[in-house]
Symmetry: C2
Subunit: 132 residues, 2 copies
DNA sequence: GTTTGACCTAGAGTCGGCTCTAGATTCTAC
DNA sequence: GTAGAATCTAGAGCCGACTCTAGGTCAAAC
């Protein structure tokens, strides 16, 4: 219930106060952030929760413009669930593709690591082959 | 054996000719690219293979400066395997961390997708809860 | 009553990673 | 031999996502 200052939200989310203001300007919040006495931002728990979602989406590579589009849909309220679903499904596909790519990279690295360990005698039975 | 033009390498790797020249300037190639008669670049199969490695490393989020550092080690030749190993292991940790993050994001998205599908009646038995 | 620290706005600056331009040269096909 | 495509260099430009600065307000602690 409380109402949190921008500094408190920064502490909780790990975003800087700069970034919090920046995200607000970019329209990443579902409601305009409430203001207290002196025009200071007062964040609700819901705001913080939503920021958590944004952080996850960013961490998974969604560009700010897309997060904004999604936020716009949520802000608009009920009636656009189909569009929201579309955004989410599309992003899920991208995330899956990204995981797949990471996995391929991981195999490459793991292989190289094994080969170097073999070379250095840190490990036996490694079939050494073309490098690098 | 052949020797490939920059255009051919662009086709094969999916990088643009601009990017290929840029990567070269950034020192991402283990050998200076051979030049033909008129000063045109002539890439070897090894160059293309190495570019493939760079592409993988980039795709997994390694910054150009780190790829460059690693390339420098490879270019320097034998004797620095320990350092190469260190670079690779560090990157592997980052990749694993990134996969973990992606997985968490995937769970969030999948959950939201399920809830919206439930709301839209596309699916039954979904325990609807706090959204967005 | 003044100093300290958190906050405000508007706007400028930075950084990574490309991407493009200009102006010149060279190769390829007719 | 000439038009059109591909290449070259050097350097400028762009975009996304922050990050910081300047100049100011305000509350609380000393």
């Amino acid at each position: 219930m409380s109402g949190l200052s921008i500094g408190q939200v920064a502490d909780r989310t790990g975003l800087s106060v700069h970034t919090l203001r920046f995200y607000e300007r970019q329209g990443l919040l579902t409601q305009p952030v409430r203001r207290g006495s002196a025009g200071h931002r007062v964040y609700s728990e819901d705001d913080v929760d939503w920021l958590g979602v944004c952080i996850r989406l960013r961490a998974s590579g969604m560009p700010l413009t897309d997060i904004r589009r999604y936020t716009d849909l949520v802000r608009a309220g009920q009636g656009n669930e189909v569009e929201r679903l579309e955004v989410l499904r599309e992003h899920r596909e991208r995330v899956l593709a990204q995981m797949h790519e990471l996995d391929e990279c991981l195999q490459l690295i793991t292989h190289k690591v094994a080969v170097y360990e073999g070379r250095l005698g840190l490990r036996d039975n490694v079939t050494d082959c073309a490098l690098p």
